[in-house]
């Protein structure tokens, strides 16, 4: 079965969110999402400085099978996008919770992260 690390927060759209010590959050897609997509061939991510509201589309992940939108779990400003995914989109399949993080966001409202699903609640949706 797919992995759901206990230390992360989740959305029902299969994004994960990690609270960092500097106040930013890191966002990626879950193991379940990468398995459902199949071999990922392209990840389209926003540039640093762009702002998104909660639930807004921030990018696209494309696999051999389909292109899927990425939804921003938390409102805020992008401080960094993972440039490694340009050259190695297959990292999404290999390290969904590690090397294939997608964007780091400075939240508009830091408390918003607490409204996301915890690991148990996310696991229950799978």
């Amino acid at each position: 079965m797919s992995q759901v690390p206990a230390t992360l927060r989740y959305t029902k759209d299969h994004e994960w969110v990690r609270q960092e010590s500097d106040g930013t959050v890191t966002i990626g897609i879950t193991d379940h999402a990468q398995a459902a997509l199949g071999d990922v061939t392209f990840v389209d991510l926003p540039k640093a400085g762009k702002t998104f509201s909660t639930g807004e589309v921030f990018g696209t992940v494309e696999s051999v099978k389909a292109a899927s939108d990425l939804y921003c779990p938390i409102a805020g400003e992008v401080v960094e996008a993972n440039a490694q995914l340009n050259d190695s989109p297959d990292l999404v399949n290999r390290e969904p919770y590690g090397g294939a993080w997608m964007i780091r966001v400075k939240p508009k409202n830091p408390a918003e992260v607490n409204q996301l699903l915890d690991a148990a609640a996310y696991s229950a949706t799978l």
Binding site: G38, D39, T41, V64, A67, N93
Partner: protein, 363 residues
């Protein structure tokens, strides 16, 4: 719509191998096992085993069988030698395609035809509707056969481990009937839908799973892995083989699809002849082209092709090519633009230049 999905004789094996099963043409089929790109590359480098038991089979026999098939098919069947097979289209009077098929000649008066799963019932009805003599018998054998495709440069080596049939004697589009992995009455044909060497094997349905297991066991040391429909699509697209409903359909004729070589105008009469002849002589209004993109985004079915700001076509198939390491696809493009170097395709609002390829991406 709500008819239950059919399962092939290999269903239990797919579950055991951890396949991801999806609905396809009314069947519950494996789309992938280990991953589409890995499966694709295994076929190009070693070998892959596909369950294609969803494909249909029909036997056509009788004294007038050859003449009948000449009349319903675009290619010539009366000149086909027993022991050989031929690729052909079956067309409507307006030149649109009913289906593409492979016809095997078993003997003077006996033919065996492989049909697309999505068209099998329609094809058999079409054949029955166009028989005008009692000297042709049409027998639906869809439920009698399992079908495996063993494809890749090591396919012959692997198949030779489970059969004593003289495989080297089978030419391209030739076939033999005999025993494979203990199952008798198998049709072993040097054909395929991948652009790599290999065989397609028709087996009595009840023997399907036993033969598949024997092949996977014997072939493992040679790199043989099971391959699903996902890689089947990227393999056939690299080889520029058409898929019904994409490059050929009721609205796209063999002339438009670049399959004019399968249409034999020397035959005095066959369904679609006049319409196809007009297209062949006057040039079709649109044609199918093969393309690649220098990007990572895939142009998928339905995406619009532009010349400047003018829409001039649409994407018919699109996938990621593991061999080319870039997206490839086919598009139906208006006459006058098929050799254009200025075409673009719209992918979610971004226009990307499209590079037309006049040769397949493999071989």
């Amino acid at each position: 719509m709500s008819e239950p999905l059919q399962r092939t004789p290999l269903y239990d094996l797919h579950v055991e191998l951890g396949a991801r099963l999806v609905p396809f043409a009314g069947w519950e089929m494996p789309v992938q096992y280990s991953g589409i790109i890995e499966e694709h590359l295994a076929v190009r480098r070693a070998a892959g085993l596909f369950d294609v038991s969803h494909m249909g089979e029909v036997r056509v026999r009788g004294r007038d069988a050859a003449a009948f098939l000449d009349r319903v098919m675009t290619n010539e069947m009366s000149t086909l030698k027993p022991g050989a097979a031929r690729y052909t289209l079956m067309c409507q009077p307006d030149g649109g395609c009913v289906d593409d098929l492979i016809v095997y000649r078993f003997s003077e008066n006996e033919f065996f035809i492989c049909l697309n799963a999505s068209n099998a019932a329609k094809d058999i009805q079409w054949l029955r509707d166009h028989v005008s003599t009692a000297k042709v018998e049409i027998i639906d054998e869809c439920k009698l056969w399992a079908q495996l495709a063993l494809q890749g440069p090591l396919a012959e080596k692997i198949l030779s481990l489970v059969t004593t049939l003289p495989l080297a004697s089978i030419k391209r589009f030739g076939f033999l009937v005999g025993e494979v992995a203990g199952a008798s009455g198998c049709v072993v044909s040097r054909t395929g839908y991948t652009g790599s060497a290999g065989f397609e094997i028709y087996l009595p349905a009840a023997s399907g799973i036993q033969v598949a297991r024997a092949l996977l066991t014997s072939g493992k040391a040679h790199g043989l892995i099971p391959v699903g429909l996902g890689a089947r699509d990227s393999l056939r697209l690299e080889a520029n083989y058409p898929l019904y409903g994409h490059e050929i359909s009721e609205r796209i004729s063999p002339i438009q699809a670049g399959l004019g070589w399968t249409v034999k105008f020397n035959k005095e009469q066959f369904i679609g002849r006049e319409a196809l002849r007009r297209q062949a002589e006057g040039g079709p209004t649109s044609s199918v082209v093969l393309f690649s993109l220098n990007d990572r985004r895939i142009a998928r079915q339905g995406a619009t092709v532009y010349a400047g700001e003018t829409p001039v076509g649409e994407v018919l198939s699109g996938t990621f090519s593991p061999t080319m390491n870039k997206p490839i696809g086919t598009a139906l493009v208006a006459a006058g633009y098929v050799n254009s170097e200025q075409l673009t395709v719209d992918i979610r609002g971004t226009r990307l230049p499209l590079t037309i390829s006049v040769t397949p991406f493999v071989k």
